[in-house]
């Protein structure tokens, strides 16, 4: 049986953000924007959606005089990401997944 793909993560930009955050402790907004190559406005909207879902924490602060927005994945986000990968694998390797069940 195919597992349902989480619609919050099943979008290119949000998945890109989550993939970056899953492999680091925290990342700055500028870094994420550079890695995803998207616009600041679009990224802000997607980050807000991930935050509302409880998948990431967003902290706004200052480093010296520079404003700094730091994103960090939450435990809920890690679990959702793991479930998403699991669901993806059920599509790509359905037989293997059936055996495990």
């Amino acid at each position: 049986m195919f597992k349902e793909l989480n619609p919050i993560l099943h979008s290119e930009l949000r998945l890109g953000v989550m993939s970056i955050l899953i492999s680091v402790e925290s990342a700055d907004f500028t870094y994420i924007r550079k890695q995803t190559g998207t616009t600041a406005g679009n990224l802000s909207v997607q980050i807000e959606k991930l935050k509302e879902a409880g998948y990431i924490d967003v902290t706004k602060s200052f480093k010296g005089k520079m404003p700094c927005t730091t994103c960090k994945i939450t435990q809920q986000g890690i679990e959702a990401f793991q479930q998403y990968i699991d669901a993806l694998q059920s599509y790509l390797h359905p037989e293997q997944h059936k055996k495990e069940e």
Partner: protein, 203 residues
Amino acid sequence: MEDSRMQDKTLNEKESLALIAQMIQNTQKRFERGTGANMLVWGYATVFATFSVWLALRLTGNPNWNFLWFLIPLIGYPYILFQSRQPKLVKTYIDKVIKYIWMVVGITGFFLSAATIFNFMWAFPILFVVILMMGMGSMLTGLVTEFKPSVIGSFAGMLIGFVNYLVPDYDIKMLTFALAFICIDVIPGHILNYRAKKRCSKS
């Protein structure tokens, strides 16, 4: 030409997995300019302090010149403070491990050195112990980050440390101490900076 900008669109399963792999790989391959600066600051500070203490003691014979060892934290810690105020774009788990390694090594090293300088532990082979501690810290950092020059340099530095312990001559002790830090910090620091500069100009 294909647009590489990510958008709010859905992907198929294969594209999703490819995207995840690519993003994780990009983050792990991160190399920043000036990454070796930390090693260079501490390395050169140690070499400079060693020669200052050696020269001052040779010229005057006054043991109070041993307080010049504090030049190392006086140069190193303001740099750490300055660095911590710089905006850091991404913090990986490896950064966190390295931070804790150096926190433990740095604090222990500082208190041991201070206790020796203030004569609480006068017979303690502090130069040898400091070389071993810093060598271990640097080797662990090199192993965690898979940076071979640090691993090799630390190993060489720690071998020099044994010479430092076994040879009783004061001049050779001071010379081997500086030499150990050239191997542990200075040479790997320059190699790291050179590699980071090369990678950054390519990208």
